[in-house]
Amino acid sequence: MPFNTLPNSDYIGRHNELTNRYEKICQAGIGMTRSIMLAGMRGIGKTEFLKQLFGLLFWKQDRVAPFYYSVHDALLSVEAFSRTYLVQFLCQRLAFEKKEQALFSYEGMSLRDVSLLAEDRGASWVKTIIREYERAADPISALRVALEAPHQSILKTGIPVAILLDEFHRLKELSLGAAPDHRLVSLFDDPITRNKAPYIITGNTNEILEMPVAGLLEHVALKPLEYADALSLAQSLLERQQSKGAIPPLLVRRLGGNPLYLTCLCTKAGVTAQNTDRDFWNAYCEELIEGRLSGFWTSVFKNSFSNFSSRKIALSLCYKTYHSREPLSLEQIAESFEGTTAELETIVHGLYGAGFIEGAFGVMRPVEDLVLRDVIEALFQKEILAQPAHDLQQEFLDRLLPQKSDMTRFDLVLPMAKEAELVAAQCLDQIGKNLGFDQDTIGQLQIAVIESCINAIEHSGGAERKIYLSVIVEENRMEIGIESSGREFVVQQTGEPFGDREGMKTPGRGWGIKLMKRVADEVRFEKTARGMKTVLIKTFNKAMSGKKEEFKNRE
């Protein structure tokens, strides 16, 4: 084999897709097999799928010759690419004849070596292609010969070829001379549409979708693993490390059936012989903050944004997209970030291309990947807000560990309309009644919420004229969050409101915050992606909890 693949027993959950694709390719001889683009999120297993397919085609049948090529970043000049492409194709094609695995060792092999090999095996068609390649008038003509080689082999031998191309998106960097010329990849247009030579192209899905060649391909999605398969894969990975324990179902679901994520987590958790649920969540949090999983996405980020300033904006922008309840247009993004529209568009395009956000038509939204969301959150907290890793770890653990069953959460979005604060206050009153809390205390909190909403309205500087109210009740503790796109209105170190000295002498200035602090047990002001969030925490006394219990029992 030209590469390492997973043992068949460890390749879990893809049997049907693999067999289906294998059978389709085996019918290439009748010329009806279409070229496809294998789409899917990062880590979903597209590369492994190609490798497994190659293995099947190579060993299990002799009707269709497989050719696997992974585009390498270091081989993107037209000359280097065409030569390696041709050498590898010819070697793999010759290897297929007699299933000679030894021929996969083509590192350092020259076209002359391949020519001698072909002569030894009586494959004169190989020599013809090499001759044509060497006589090509220019690098582009030579590239055409290399790309047409599979088709030529079909004409000479009658055996169809399945071309499995990995990391195809890198070909947009193909260059003739110093600068990349994205038009060069259009030389694939003809070969891809040839009969009896179906292509399976994969790589970074979003980037391939931006290439014109995508229009010639049928798009086939490699879906996340089903829950049961994800569980089996996790068990298999843990058993291999002699680790006991089973990943909590909620965590398996959070990993979204992504084999890369499962592998990262199980490798981390597998270090411990016996894992409890908490150990698995802890391992996940570690992976998010400083593990291989974090390293993987951080590396994608750094590769996509090479300079520090654009990297910082990109991360903040990505974070904002993930925390926005609505998709963000470029105009909305431009209102919230510094930089010219062109600069921001380049950054947005980079985030889209790298798979951090969706939005092929300029309206940006998060990808449906909870792990990536967590990674971005952790990266933002760590790199932009400089939060210590330990604090972050604890914060994630608190947030992610399954909540107690008696936790109740209410979320409300208010427009910044006249007296909208009353709506928030009335809602709080009803929540208090529903949960059986002391009405005097709720009355105090209502006043505090009114003050907080007024602050949010007064200091709102963003485009989003909304207040996000959340009320979380757990046992006898109530946490109220009032968030808006406004600017900071307190000094973080002191928790006291900003304001010039003269302004502070005006009656009423600063009373709202003073009142909140008087009413709530704890008041926090948090800088968030959206803007500012005021958090009011109140613990009700035991007598009131009893009342709450009584209320619940009555239900």
Partner: protein, 117 residues
């Protein structure tokens, strides 16, 4: 949206003002104007009945300080009645409570005021 209303009446030298609903800046200004009207007419004893006041915000309270100052300028007496505990706390927090007389209901306030010459 109309979350504030106000009514008032006067008998002899006592005026009773009854605000209702949400006292924010606009509500407090209306309250201030009403009290100024009574003071302008020579009425020197004012009662503000908070029984139907649902919420008071701090901007509204800041305007209350103006009302208190005005009554002091007119050498008048200002009484608050039917204050909810939270409202009483807020007035206390901002230091207003020491400048007014607080009664549990209107009748007590009027009895008190009638006893003052």
């Amino acid at each position: 949206m109309n979350n504030f209303s106000i009514s008032s009446r006067s008998a002899q030298d006592v005026a009773v003002i009854t605000p209702r609903g949400y006292i924010n800046d606009m509500g407090a200004i209306r309250l201030e104007k009403t009290s100024e009207q009574f003071l302008g007419r020579g009425i020197r004893k004012l009662v503000v009945n908070f029984a139907d006041v649902q919420f008071i915000n701090t901007i509204g309270i800041s305007i209350f300080t103006g009302i208190v100052q005005k009554t002091r300028e007119y050498d008048s007496l200002l009484c608050f009645t039917n204050l909810k505990k939270i409202h009483c706390d807020i007035f206390d927090m901002v230091g207003l409570i020491k400048h007014v007389k607080v009664f549990s209901n209107e009748e007590e306030a009027i009895t008190f005021l009638n006893g003052r010459g």
